[in-house]
């Protein structure tokens, strides 16, 4: 089992965007630079986050990305599902029905116990991810991360964020 490395990029970018002022945006190229990623690679994941309404993409010369809602209302599960898709990791192929032991279809109405057990474990995984807010990640970084590293990240955001002319502010 492996999560794509887009998950790491997506969470770091969302956490970075939690640090912009008000309704400012940050260009995708700056986010890519911040983590040493290729802008075209990152674009795919920024698009996934935008499609999932975790990010907002603002067009125009002062455009870029910003969170579509407050970091308190975004969970790690939201981000993981946006990047990896909503399908469960265990996908039952109903092989119990494939061999010579197959009997009448009415015997398979109830889900296979193996599938049920695997999905129960996956619900535990998702519940643990849903329990972590993006704001928790940011707060923990501020409180427990290396202070020099935190200051460098904040300075990067400060340098690359783009204030918006419109009066609309980040949705809460």
């Amino acid at each position: 089992m492996k999560l794509g490395d887009g998950v790491e990029a997506a969470i770091h970018c969302a956490a970075t965007l939690a640090g912009v002022d008000g309704n400012s945006t940050m260009p995708g190229a700056a986010l890519a630079e911040c983590f040493g990623l290729s802008p075209s690679y990152l674009l795919k994941h920024l698009n996934q986050l935008t499609a999932a309404r975790i990010l907002e993409s603002v067009p125009g010369p002062a455009g870029g990305y910003r969170l579509a809602r407050a970091a308190e209302r975004i969970t790690l599960l939201d981000i993981v599902l946006a990047v990896e898709g909503r399908e469960p990791a265990f996908r039952c192929g109903e092989i119990r029905q494939r061999g010579p032991v197959k009997i009448d279809a009415s015997a398979y109405v109830k889900p296979c116990g193996i599938n049920a057990a695997m999905l129960r474990a996956e619900r535990a995984y998702r519940a643990a991810l849903a329990d972590v807010k993006l704001s928790d990640i940011v707060a923990e970084y501020a409180a427990e991360g290396d202070p020099r590293s935190y200051a460098a990240s904040c300075a990067f955001v400060e340098r690359h964020q783009r204030p918006q002319k419109s009066a609309s502010s980040k949705q809460t």
Copy 2:
């Protein structure tokens, strides 16, 4: 995130082998037939289970596979790790250190909070898998599965199991 379909095959095969009498074995070809799988495809996963000491492979004309220990001592986690490998699904690429915000290496001694949160969720997943014994899967199938389907599975095992001459019995 996706688990390989070998996981489904491996759990079904292990559950089937939990039904053989005493120290009897079942040939890989019969297990493949039971679930409509290609024997060469299944062999890879039977080898993984054998390498992880979940199954024993007995050579010779009456050879085949059997559980290496009692079904009460095999969990779904044992089987998933045997097939999918022991590495976590989330693999931190340390992208926090890749861009221009990188500072002195001493700032990165403590694991990234994002990595820590992802691994916590994965521990919840593994704990849920470790909580399900192969014997639970078999007992639930016997108690709650379709009785016709259960009888057909038992008859298949009865037909294909190979009693062993040696007096050694399944390890408990």
